[in-house]
């Protein structure tokens, strides 16, 4: 019983911890940020399993996390508001020649990150860019000007 309760609590704690860290998709992560993810996961795992290293306990922990994730996905489908809380919304950080500095500061996205994403999408110069959007998954979409 304790494993199921702990796994459910840790799931929600990690869900909101990642939201609080900020939105940085895998492509924007530094090697240290990837290590940080593993650290958080490892600390959560110890609290879930405790001293009980049995197969039964591991299966209960995994089943709880899987069902929590299914529940969150279902709730996101039911409630748009819940989806926004869990995933956020896309944020425009560059629009027709203007950088939106406040959203960039909040999302901790730097010009270098944007240019790296732009190069990945075949954009060579700033003049070619119409919009830059930070997506819910932390990825950066660069929309080119027409013509």
């Amino acid at each position: 019983m304790v494993t199921i309760i702990n796994a459910a609590i840790i799931y929600w704690v990690l869900l909101f911890a990642f939201r609080l860290i900020g939105r940085r998709g895998p492509s924007l992560m530094t090697p240290f940020e990837i290590i940080l993810l593993f650290m958080l996961g490892g600390m959560g795992m110890q609290a879930i399993l405790g001293a009980d290293h049995s197969l039964t306990n591991a299966i209960l922990g995994i089943a709880t996390v899987v069902m929590m994730h299914v529940l969150v996905s279902t709730l996101k489908g039911w409630s748009e508001c819940f989806g926004r809380i869990v995933d956020g919304t896309p944020v425009i950080i560059y629009s027709n020649g203007c950088w939106q500095e406040e959203p960039m500061r909040r999302l901790r996205v730097h010009l270098q990150d944007v240019m790296a994403a732009a190069r990945g999408q075949g954009v060579e110069r700033m003049e070619q860019i119409k919009y830059v959007i930070v997506e819910r998954n932390g990825g950066i979409s660069v929309l080119k000007r027409e013509g």
Partner: protein, 170 residues
């Protein structure tokens, strides 16, 4: 069907008002987390200055140092300091109540008792003592098993029980 809101001339589902509100929530939670960390350093969640406590009723031959705040499955110590009156007979008998034994599970006793005896309301431990000494310390290492409050009671035979309360974090 879910609709995607339009901002400027693109349909991206942006909601700047929500993002602004979320940013305020995020900053508030950061402040709460800093307070949580300061509380952790101070021992509000156990293992720190605020979690250590002493029970020493006036006139008692027993003084107990314990963790007011402990954590589940994390060892915690109960230090019993006996004065010379308790050591005078060369033998001391200590009784721990049932709540303490059930919820705090003893892992180790230092020094080891000469004998221990299970009772319906707890257990009794008998230790050899040196009557020439002014004081002696017995340490019980506990391993809290259940979160919540524990109303502990420790009694030296022939004296008034010393009562104290511990809280175990999950």
């Amino acid at each position: 069907m879910e609709t995607v809101s339009r901002t400027e001339d693109i349909e991206a589902g942006c909601d700047p008002a929500f993002e602004h509100r979320w940013w305020r929530i995020q900053r508030t939670v950061w402040v709460i987390l800093v307070l949580l960390l300061l509380g952790g350093l101070a021992g509000v969640f156990g293992h720190g200055p605020l979690s250590e406590a002493t029970a020493h009723p006036s006139g008692s031959q027993l003084q107990i140092q314990y963790d007011r705040l402990a954590r589940r499955e994390t060892p915690s110590s109960l230090r019993l300091q006996l004065d010379k009156n308790a050591l005078a007979s060369g033998r001391v008998c200590i009784h721990l109540n049932r709540a303490l034994l059930d919820r705090m599970q003893l892992k180790q006793i230092v020094p080891a008792p000469l004998a221990s005896e299970p009772l319906t309301d707890g257990a009794r431990f008998i230790f050899r003592t040196d009557p020439t000494r002014d004081s002696a310390t017995i340490v019980f290492i506990e391993n809290p098993t259940m979160p919540g409050f524990v109303d502990a009671e420790v009694t030296v035979e022939g004296a008034e029980p010393v009562r104290f309360r511990q809280f175990v974090f999950p």
